[in-house]
Symmetry: D2
Subunit: 183 residues, 4 copies
């Protein structure tokens, strides 16, 4: 394998060597027990959040992406999942405030467990990976800016989907049947 792919994969492996698997399982349990699940993220983190949302929908969960046209309101029993890799974003914090005021719970995926978003969240899932909060200086990732965090999100969310699929007893065919043909 050419060197750059290997470096990227090694760095991702390093993230998952450090991940707190109990926190992952706790997040999976929160998702499995939620009513409506709304998801939100900005920039490239937001893309990974959207990919996770689509798989939650394939699993038969009541998932929706904030900003899509058919997203419901959230209230008691519901869950807002947000991404805040470097700690906080104005729109993420704004939506967390709305969700909390409406009685919904919040789950933050972040690299900064002491950041603004994590401190306001009901549940925190920490990915120990570089973001734009710490991408300068020496000893940085071969990947630019927040790319290591975003790539780790991709793999983490896939693993969470596998765990949810098993816990919820959803077959691969059932997931597949929920995939849109309008492409």
């Amino acid at each position: 394998m050419p060197k750059l792919y290997n470096e990227a994969l090694q760095e991702l492996a390093g993230v998952f060597d450090r991940i707190d698997e109990q926190a992952v399982d706790a997040a999976v349990a929160v998702i499995a027990g939620a009513g409506r699940i709304a998801l939100y993220g900005v920039g490239r983190e937001g893309l990974q959040i959207k990919g996770f949302a689509m798989r939650l929908y394939h699993l038969g969960l009541k998932a929706a992406v904030v900003g899509d046209m058919t997203t419901p309101p959230v209230s008691g029993g519901d869950l807002l999942i947000v991404s805040a890799g470097p700690g906080g974003f104005s729109t993420v914090l704004g939506l967390m405030g709305v969700a909390t005021a409406a009685g919904a719970k919040t789950l933050v995926v972040t690299a900064q467990p002491d950041g603004d978003a994590a401190r306001r969240a009901d549940h925190v899932l920490t990915i120990p990976a570089q973001t734009m909060a710490d991408d300068r200086g020496t000893n940085v990732s071969v990947l630019p800016m927040g790319s290591l965090f975003e790539g780790a999100q991709y793999i983490l969310f896939e693993v969470m989907v596998l765990k949810l699929r098993e816990q919820l007893g959803i077959s691969t065919e059932a997931m597949r049947a929920n995939h849109t043909n309008l492409e």
Copy 2:
């Protein structure tokens, strides 16, 4: 009222003087009787289609926008609503082919009832307004390009929502309760 607003409103009034209200009512009936409803449009037409999708969702219909993360597949009993003001677009025609092959019905909103999209559609709703198919030469709208068509879509879709609300017996409060608070 300053002149430009008046001209725009007069042109919009002219569109609705010419609209075929029976075709509007037929389209409303198709929507009211559909299973899943997927909606798609490109560019600024697509924006009006999205706004219509949100209101259909507020009405409690199973509406979703193609490209959003939680859009279901369509098949028999379902409906794909597309916009093709100037007659056809590659992606619109592609999706119509998929929907038809899957057994879903198609409803095209267009200014060109003899255009490519209309000819392939199960149902056609014609808005007699300028699009980019006829925006050059003399005797054109004060509004640029397809703006008259897109503005007419806005008003037409609102009126269709009012008709659907009455037919389906949905209260204003029920619609309002479906509006997301995640903004």
Copy 3:
């Protein structure tokens, strides 16, 4: 013209009977003089903002929609245009704070000139139309929720595009040449 279209158009006419044309011209001047222009709105207001953004791009201005993939940062000399019909939204207020802190100016389009967003804005453009801040009780629009405001946005933005086109000396053909063919 069937009654519902006429009622909608009459209500829209009423909005533009009441609009402050000097404020419109001031907003046009702010846009014409801006560096980068970022635009943002939520829900169906957001759709109208996006349509406006596309036309600003067609005019050759450096416009971009917040949340799109190729949106630049803003700073001194730049402008953030937001929509806040009923007064304020958490994400709108969050982004206004970021823009202001970075030295950019903010222009708020709203129905509530005393609302949270307007009070924090550098420039306010008021559309005197019903939103979800005042859509209940007697004497309400035939259109549901914020539809009157959103429809008025459509027409207002079109008129502003016409004014900008003239001020900037952009030909219809030049605008048209900026329209994407990837549809």
Copy 4:
């Protein structure tokens, strides 16, 4: 590292053991030499394409995502990059036809080098990974549906960005300065 992460990373490593690095370098050269670059993909592939587009924009290239509000037209000298993991999608094939007719070149990222999209493309970049074209039966990925392909896209695109950054002589700080603050 818990087992599932390891399995996912091992499968990704297997993809890059099999990748044709000359094809990657050829794709990088095509991108570096293109005028305007438009990018498009559907579903979760589309999300990875969008993430790539944002990084191309950070590199200072004239990149834009099809469907965003400020996407230019393409013609001679320009490039359309599409994703078609399982071989082809109706909207992807439609847009490729438009781009080719307008004189632009096309680059397809796919797992099926003999598929419909690849056969019509000017340039093909093959990712040897499971998609929904071959996700059933025995000997399938631990990841569902097209997740292995999409994860491989993430890593491949990051590596291509590193190659482009070096070839174009763009500093990390210059990339960072193009990152939007409107989040």
